[in-house]
């Protein structure tokens, strides 16, 4: 056994001897001292090389300077004039071409108010005549986008969510693998509002006055979406804008208490999931003529129009969170 394979101890001693051999060699080299002549030779070679580099650099700088002078001279006199004239001519040409093209397209459209034009087909007539009866929404647009074409709106909300995820992947600055902030993150924290006024009293007072009103107005628009113009998208955008104003006035510390990546993920996921499930149920029962627990209610009441109100709330939450996350990521790369 010992003869075929060296034991661990043998290996170790062999390694130690090897190491000591290397040490001996190094000590010998040091004791002998380096060759002075070789050193001088090396120095001369290095100096020659340095001189060559310097010459090349100087020539390059001179050439570049000459080129810059020539171009600069040309742009200041002939070039600028020519370029400006060409640019203006091109602009006029593009404007005229686009205008002519648009007018030609308008000529091809059906006459305004023509009963036979493809816009006035039976679909829009049905929406207008039976929309309120079937969906229970006074606002026909809300009935259309959240009832007849609800899956289209689910797609739109999902697009917002995916866009937020993509921006998050690209712009978020993570902690390093030990859970400590990286240099990039520290730089981003320092750079954030480096030039901007911090703790501006005027902004803070006006934000304290305006933000509650803005948030209330956004909630009103979402909750009244089936009764008056508005709905999830516009109300959510208003709420997001209010949150951004609050963030600008009071900084990330104040908003970080209620809004972080985890909250964003949970809210968006729950909203989209609820939307998909609720609408699937509604479409399933509707298509199979089953009894549905969702009733249109009395049109005009705040709790009416079946699913439109909860769906508006879901869409509004997704939109508000997405707007806020976009702003935070583009500003600092985090929240």
């Amino acid at each position: 056994m010992n003869s075929s394979k060296p034991s661990l101890k043998q290996k170790f001693t062999a390694w130690l001897e090897n190491a000591s051999m290397l040490d001996d060699a190094m000590e010998k080299d040091l004791a002998k001292g380096s060759d002075l002549k070789a050193q001088e030779n090396e120095k001369a070679v290095y100096e020659a090389w340095e001189q060559r580099q310097k010459n090349r650099h100087d020539t390059a700088v001179q050439e570049e300077h000459a080129l810059y002078e020539r171009i600069h001279h040309w742009t200041m006199t002939g070039g600028a004039k020519t370029a400006t004239i060409l640019y203006r001519l091109f602009c006029i040409f593009v404007c005229l071409a686009v205008t002519a093209f648009m007018l030609m397209m308008v000529l091809d459209m059906p006459a305004y108010g023509n009963a036979n034009s493809p816009v006035n087909n039976e679909v829009s007539a049905r929406y207008i005549e039976k929309g309120m009866e079937e969906t229970g929404a006074v606002n026909i647009v809300a009935g259309m986008i959240l009832d007849y074409r609800a899956f289209d709106t689910l797609g739109e909300s999902t697009v917002l969510f995916i866009a937020a995820c993509a921006v998050l992947t690209l712009l978020r600055i993570d902690l390093n693998r030990h859970g400590l902030p990286t240099e990039e993150l520290i730089a981003a924290e320092a750079d954030d509002r480096h030039h901007e006024p911090k703790d501006d009293v005027i902004l803070q007072r006006s934000a304290a006055l305006l933000v509650p009103i803005i948030l209330l107005f956004g909630i009103y628009i979402i909750f009244n979406g089936h009764l008056s113009p508005g709905g999830g998208f516009s109300g959510g955008a208003i709420i997001g804008a209010g949150m951004i104003l609050y963030l600008n006035a009071f900084g990330f510390k104040a908003t970080g208490k209620i809004m972080n990546f985890r909250v964003f993920t949970v809210i968006t996921f729950c909203s989209l999931m609820f939307y998909g499930l609720a609408k699937t149920y509604s479409f399933f029962t509707g298509a199979n003529h089953l009894h549905s627990i969702i009733s249109p209610g009395i049109p005009g009441n705040i709790f009416s129009a079946g699913l439109i109100l909860p769906l508006n709330i879901a869409v509004g939450m997704v939109v508000a969170c997405t707007m806020y996350v976009f702003y935070a990521l583009f500003r600092k790369g985090g929240m």
Binding site: E196, P197, D200, I202, L203, S206, L209, L210
Partner: protein, 106 residues
């Protein structure tokens, strides 16, 4: 008679508001420095909008609409000057050649 009076008031004030807006738009291109342009831009948001909405409120169908116009004016009169203030502060902080553009009191 009253209808005509309301119409004339509305028309005059609307034209006045649009004139202020046009002047502010012209001024944004006419002036060179940020602080001057900021002043002109804020003028359109506050005065032009106020005169326009005052004119519209004379021909409003009911009093609720007038209250809504009033709330819009209140909101913009708070928001627009604050925005201008922030722009001015940022400009003063960032512009190194401020003394060349204007007289700076220290």
């Amino acid at each position: 008679m009253l209808d005509w009076l309301r119409f004339i008031l509305t028309a005059v004030l609307l034209v006045g508001g649009i004139t202020v807006m046009c002047i502010s738009m012209y001024g944004v291109y006419r002036f060179k420095f940020v602080l001057n342009r900021m002043h002109v831009a804020a003028m359109g948001d506050t005065m032009g909008l106020f005169i326009t909405l005052l004119g519209l409120s004379f021909s409003a169908p009911d009093f609720t609409t007038v209250i809504k116009f009033f709330l819009i004016v209140c909101f913009l009169w708070i928001a627009s000057p604050v925005a201008s203030h922030l722009i001015a502060r940022l400009e003063v902080t960032l512009n190194d050649h401020l003394e060349d553009e204007m007289e700076v009191l220290k």
